[in-house]
Amino acid sequence: MHLWLRNFHLLAGLFSALMVLQYGVSTMFMSHRGWFGPPKMETTEVTINVSSETATSARALARELMDKHGLNGELRQGRETNTGYVLRIALAGFQHDVEYSRATGVARVKTQKRPARMTLTAIHQQGGLHHEHWVSNAWGALVGIVSVGLILLGLSGIYLWFKLRKERVVGTVLLVLSLAYSVSLMVMLRVA
């Protein structure tokens, strides 16, 4: 049992390592934006001709841009305007902002490639298995696996600590302090 749990803790930890590191680092970026200065985005702009017969709706326009013009990603936002449509096709590392004019049949596509720290932040906010794009669903699946891993890492960690006799006294003090602090705050916040 002990060896099994020890191995499980190691394997689950190693599999989740990069994702957990991503969560820590991206939280640091979100929590301490002032440390890093404004992010620099690489921006390119192109115009694409799409006939108004094809662009009958924002979704139809997005489909055309994805199928015929290489715009990869998930349709995140979209709406009709007085003159056409605006929409955003994006994944964690980039976004294409599209402004389409029905009158001219021209879609202006502004592509912004996000720097690594913004991509990490976007990955942090990924989740769910209901997305249209397989990459977003894959991230969602990885989030689920790592979440289960985190819970099991915590529980197996408690067991492994307890098996270290020399660490029981110090460990008990730390655990009791931590639980007293966190659980009492959670209760206070929940009942407020």
């Binding site: 969560y23 989740g127 639980l179």
Partner: protein
């Protein structure tokens, strides 16, 4: 050296035990919650509370502070505006859900609308509660804990990695597990850029 790395890894784990479980629960919520269009909004209740701001409290934002204190709202953030009838509306974000308070000045009362997050949504908001400058002490203390956890997560990952390489680098399943996790992350990163 390994002895101290192992102790630090263990201590970080013990100190962050609760919040690691909160993070795990949040991740499960993110994975299995319905798509935005299918989500049911949280239940909302409304109540009225008598209220008159203290003498000398004039500005809307100062009235909002008094409202928060009067109702003991553990606000992680909020905003203040006037509605269509020119009543002051103070909205407070709390781990339990949004609290929208309308100050009906002529009637000396507050109309309090409370949205009630379920326990999973509560954990979700807790996990992202970071404001260490919040006026509410409970939120500030939880914010310190979340801040500590972000550094602990980084520390536990690095110390865990060290312990593996220092004690069992040849363990084949560990190598496979690390390679698999890294490969999945790397591939998804590439496809996301």
């Amino acid at each position: 050296m390994n002895y101290w790395v192992k102790r630090i890894h263990t201590w970080f784990g013990l100190l962050n035990f609760t919040i690691v479980l909160v993070f795990g629960a949040t991740g499960l919520l993110a994975t299995f919650r319905p798509a935005p269009a299918e989500r049911r909004p949280p239940q909302t209740t409304t109540s009225d509370v008598p209220f008159t701001p203290s003498a000398g409290v004039i500005a809307d934002k100062d009235v909002a502070v008094e409202i928060r204190r009067k109702l003991d709202i553990p606000a992680a953030g909020g905003n203040v505006r006037r509605d269509g009838d020119n009543n002051l509306v103070a909205s407070f974000s709390t781990p339990n859900g949004l609290r929208r308070v309308t100050y009906l000045e002529k009637e000396n009362r507050l109309r309090v609308e409370s949205r009630h997050n379920n326990i999973w949504q509560f954990f979700n908001v807790l996990h992202e509660t970071l404001p260490r400058q919040a006026e509410d002490g409970r939120i500030r203390l939880w914010g310190y804990y979340t801040e500590f956890s972000l550094w602990s997560l980084i520390g536990m990952t690095l110390t865990g990695f060290w312990l593996w390489l220092a004690t069992r680098p040849g363990f084949r399943w560990a190598q496979i597990s690390f390679a698999a996790g890294t490969a999945v992350f790397t591939l998804l990163w590439i496809f996301s850029r």
